[in-house]
């Protein structure tokens, strides 16, 4: 300590400078390595997905993979068109959004514009609980509660169907839409609302014609993140939607999503190095690219939104 007092006196400059002490430099290096782990994770994901799917793409041309309408790598007549898996994934994502968008947004409006601090203090932790329930539990709920209910109303629905999975995925992402949209609404300056009240607008008009439009980019960003989450959701769709890759727009049929396919292969006894095994990396690559693109778009929108009021 003592020699430090002396050096600090000689160096009023407080910026960190390497070389003051060997130990300090080592520690700084170790901490920087910790920061690098996250970068290495990203590099690892990209490298693994690209190298492990390279063998697959040597056998199946990329165009056939992206435009083929049949997916049956685990059968004797192997077909490698990913469209049925994309169809299943998007069908469930769209269904989930039909529930999560309106419910999430109106919940956010209520929390931000109408609720008293006390109500907000009770409701927000409850929504956090909903968000914290493991997805496999939602899978159980879908298969053994929602599905029997659906089959009682629509007798033509299968034991495994897209509707049941879409409903629970929708429920599970409501808290995300509600919380992010509420953040966006709360960031709208009071002055905008007060100006509207001053012109004689009602609370409804202030909420829907001033607050929501002003927070629109943040709300859109939350929607995109929610879609990304629905596309990447795995356990609920594996349990409830089944394992039948098909091109369909019907919610009552069994479908298979990209994530459910990856789980199906990894649960089976597929030998390492076979083309069936390599499909999970090819499908994983498509899944990663889709979610990454949506996350980047959402971040970009949020960044632009911040600039408006700061």
């Amino acid at each position: 300590m003592n020699e430090n007092v002396g050096t600090a006196g000689a160096n009023p400059d407080l910026r960190w400078r390497p070389g003051r002490r060997v130990g300090e430099r080592v520690i700084a290096g170790l901490l920087a390595l910790c920061g690098l782990v996250s970068v290495l994770t990203t590099v690892g994901i990209v490298v693994v997905l690209l190298t492990e799917s390279a063998g697959f793409f040597r056998e199946v041309p990329l165009v056939d993979f992206l435009t083929g309408t049949q997916w049956s790598p685990l059968y004797t007549d192997q077909q490698f068109g990913i469209l049925p898996l994309l169809n299943g994934t998007l069908l469930i994502a769209v269904g989930a959004m039909v529930i999560a968008l309106p419910v999430g947004l109106t919940s956010a409006i209520y929390l931000s514009e109408y609720a008293s601090p006390r109500v907000r203090g009770v409701v927000k932790p409850l929504l956090e609980i909903l968000a914290g329930i493991p997805t496999v539990v939602y899978g159980y709920f879908a298969l053994l509660f929602i599905t029997p209910l659906l089959r009682a109303v629509f007798p033509s629905a299968g034991v495994y169907n897209a509707a049941s999975a879409a409903i629970v995925v929708g429920i599970m992402i409501i808290p995300m839409v509600a919380s992010l949209s509420e953040d966006a609404l709360s960031a709208v300056p009071r002055a905008l609302r007060e100006a509207a009240y001053g012109l004689g607008a009602t609370k409804f008009e202030v909420s829907t014609r001033v607050a929501v439009p002003a927070a629109l980019s943040g709300i859109v960003a939350s929607f995109i993140l929610a879609i990304s989450r629905a596309v990447g959701e795995t356990m609920a769709v594996t349990l409830a939607a089944g394992a039948t890759p098909r091109m369909t727009l019907s919610f009552l049929e069994s479908v298979q999503t990209m994530t459910a396919y990856i789980v199906q292969v990894s649960l089976g006894e597929t030998p390492h190095g076979s083309i069936e095994y390599e499909t999970i990396f090819a499908v994983g690559l498509v899944l990663f690219c889709m979610t990454l693109a949506m996350n980047l778009i959402s971040n970009r929108i949020t960044a632009r939104f911040r600039e408006v009021y700061e």
């Binding site: 130990g23 901490l31 009602t202």
Partner: protein, 303 residues
């Protein structure tokens, strides 16, 4: 996209009478809208209650001391979740041991050491994007890197390393927020008496930030032990007839056991799955309660 609404001219000042005559209708629309919004909130809460009630009703009959201390079995009456509970506890400890040093280290680097440059911004953006990567992609990464490349096999360590990478962004972001909340006057006072950067971090910043860091850590762990997809990817088993004794052992965890039982056609196994869900949810509730207590205590101390 500038989105400054409310500049709609249709609602400009009309003549006073018309404005007044529509007021009742506008207020009624407002009331209906408020009701719709309230119904949305109620929908989520009703779903939460329904889900919890469904699981408790289905599982209550199967919950017993034997259920907690038995191994899985083909006979539902004898089946239990002892290996799954122990596996979950092992995973929790290993994930904490792996993600805490790296997560806090990265947070300290980003907040206290890193120069404000392009590289730091890149790392920060990268962390934000990693938080949005689907968990199953981490499973693919763990399968290729830990199970095969490092040859860890389907061990506890491979599972814990995969889950540690999965929660790392959350740990880093929480630790960064805790560190950022430490008043800079503390740092300046320490620098003023000649402390080095690491001394400032070690003796002044970390102790103050620790409750916040631990809160984030507990919440990350509660996410890790609820994850199923990555653990399935690295090949955890549903039938484990022994208790794991080292990080290199094969293992199962509660979510895998729940998945396996739910996917079976027999109703008895569904009851077992529900009972296991109740155990998992109680565990998560305890962890979250700990985190909230920690946060409240910390806030009241500082306030």
């Amino acid at each position: 996209m500038s989105g400054r609404g409310g500049s709609d001219d249709r609602h400009g000042p009309a003549d006073g009478e018309r404005f007044d005559s529509r007021l009742a209708r506008r207020r009624r629309t407002g009331k209906i809208f408020q009701g719709v919004c309230l119904a949305s909130i109620a929908f989520s809460l009703v779903m939460l209650v329904t889900l919890l009630a469904d699981v408790v009703i289905d599982g209550a009959a199967w919950l017993s001391a034997d259920f907690l201390t038995s191994f899985p079995s083909r006979i539902p009456d004898r089946a239990g979740i002892k290996p799954a509970i122990l596996g979950t506890v092992w995973i929790m400890a290993l994930v904490a041991a792996l993600s805490f040093p790296f997560g806090v280290g990265a947070a300290i680097y980003l907040e206290e050491y890193a120069p404000r440059g392009r590289l730091t911004k890149l790392i920060q953006t990268n962390i934000a994007n990693l938080a949005g990567v689907p968990s199953i992609v981490y499973g693919i990464l763990g399968l290729a890197i830990f199970v095969r490349f490092f040859g860890l096999g389907r061990s506890l360590l491979a599972g814990a390393a995969t889950l540690a990478l999965l929660v790392l962004p959350v740990v880093i972001i929480a630790a960064q927020e805790a560190i950022r909340a430490v008043p800079s006057s503390l740092r300046e006072a320490a620098y003023g008496v000649g402390a080095t950067r690491w001394q400032v971090v070690r003796h002044h910043v970390l102790p103050v930030a620790m409750p916040g860091i631990l809160t984030g850590m507990i919440l990350s762990l509660s996410r890790a032990i609820g994850e199923t997809a990555p653990v399935i990817m690295i090949g955890a088993l549903a039938f484990v007839a022994f208790t794991p004794t080292s990080p290199m052992d094969l293992f199962t965890v509660l979510p895998i056991q729940i998945f396996n039982w739910t996917a079976r056609p027999q109703a008895d196994f569904h009851g077992l799955a529900a009972a296991a869900i109740v155990v998992l949810l109680v565990l998560l509730l305890l962890m979250n309660a700990t985190a909230i207590l920690l946060r409240n205590r910390y806030q009241s101390k500082r306030g």
